[in-house]
Amino acid sequence: MNRRTKFNIKSKHLLIVAMILLVALVIVSFISPNKVSPVKTAVGNVISPMQRGINSVGRSIFERWEKVQNISDLMEENELLREQVNTLSYENKLLLQDKYELDRLRDLFELDEKYAQYPKVAARVIAADPNNWFTVFTIDKGTDDGISVDMNVMAGNGLVGIVEEVGSNWAKVRTIIDDQSNVSGMFIKTSDTCIVEGDLELMEQGVIRVEEINRDAKVEEGYEVVTSHISDKYLQGILIGYVKEITPDPNNLTKSAYLVPVVNFEHLEEVLIITEIKEKLDKPEEE
């Protein structure tokens, strides 16, 4: 190692220099995030395929592990479920009849669930944020599949989050339960708006925060909250969850509450991305 003797920098100085450079990097990325995003995209394009490969290995190990653990539970459950299937298939017939009726009535009122119409693409969750603080995950679809930033992400029939960054074959999704997440919501029954905010402190209880409900809003526990028409990123009418524990705020102008999301965020595997972006108003001062 002759190289070492040639430039013999003291490690103390190295630390200081590196610190200054990194602080500069933080400032640059704070002031103009656009400057660093090409690098982020490039890194993502390299790492994401690897994550996809390894993730499938991890999942198969996990599944095998689960299988061994749950085999006796499953047998019991199986019997129960068989009974349930019988009763449910009977109920299902009754419900189907109701559904036909409902469809007819809907046609009459020309009401349709809004989100049923949006075009969707399915994707698989391949990796999660390495820190345990935020709930951001990576999916295996990107610009090649028509995904772009600000597209809404759903699972089942509920809102999961929003696409925050996108590469050619991957995209990063910030969930609504994330501590930095803010969604403009609306009570479907009363059309009162509110803000749905993720909060790490509440995550454990499986709820998120709802704020800025009008004092006069006649909302009750169990009301459905959907994305509102005034949100600039979220499409209207996607179910977020059900409200509970409504309390008036100290300022006596607004109320806040908790919200139980309809999506189960533990072990999210597959999500649907709505490939339609809410149209933005043209800003007068475009770059």
Binding site: L25, S29, V43, Q51, N55, G58
Partner: protein
């Protein structure tokens, strides 16, 4: 050169394990911080400069993949790597127990720094809650994994030392 390639591969593998495989094996909702174990190991085994560089590389990888502000995680990992290099001077670098304990302490430092930069500065002051739900499980899990992972890292390190000595 060989060492740089090996370190690079180790960082990528640690990152991949942390983001994918361990996602399926969470302990109290947390994943072990593999990159931290790696940074601590190189700081302890190879000194301050090595800890510093491994820390920066690991941190930047995390920042570029998942960060909002690029460089914060890199600073945290860098400081931890450097500090462990310092501690490595005091202890025998062949010791097998000290680095495991150091990993625990480093994870605690990581928790404090990460909390300060990303939560305290946003006005989230309930540190006790965050420590109980994230900090503590993270420390326990990372330390447990470190017992195995540190052996692999130091084993590889000894092998590379041998190869480099032969060449010289």
């Amino acid at each position: 050169m060989l060492r740089i390639v090996v370190i690079f591969i180790e960082i990528i593998i640690s990152f991949l394990l942390q983001t994918t495989v361990f996602r399926w094996f969470k302990l109290a909702g947390t994943v072990p911080n593999m990159l931290l174990i790696l940074t601590v190991a190189y700081g302890f085994l190879k000194g301050r400069k090595a800890g510093l560089f491994v820390g920066i590389a690991s941190g930047l990888l995390v920042d570029f993949m998942y960060g909002d502000l690029i460089g914060i995680t890199a600073i945290i990992y860098m400081v931890i790597g450097y500090a462990n290099g310092y501690v490595g001077k005091i202890f025998n670098r062949e010791d097998k127990i000290v680095p495991i304990v150091l990993t625990g302490f480093s994870q605690f430092a990581y928790f404090i720094l990460y909390y300060t930069f990303n939560f305290l500065l946003r006005g989230r002051v309930n540190i006790f809650f965050y420590f109980m739900t994230i900090g503590l499980p993270e420390i326990v899990y990372t330390t447990l994994i470190a017992i195995i992972y540190y052996r692999i890292i130091s084993f590889l390190d000894v092998k590379i030392d041998g190869i480099l000595k032969k060449e010289a």
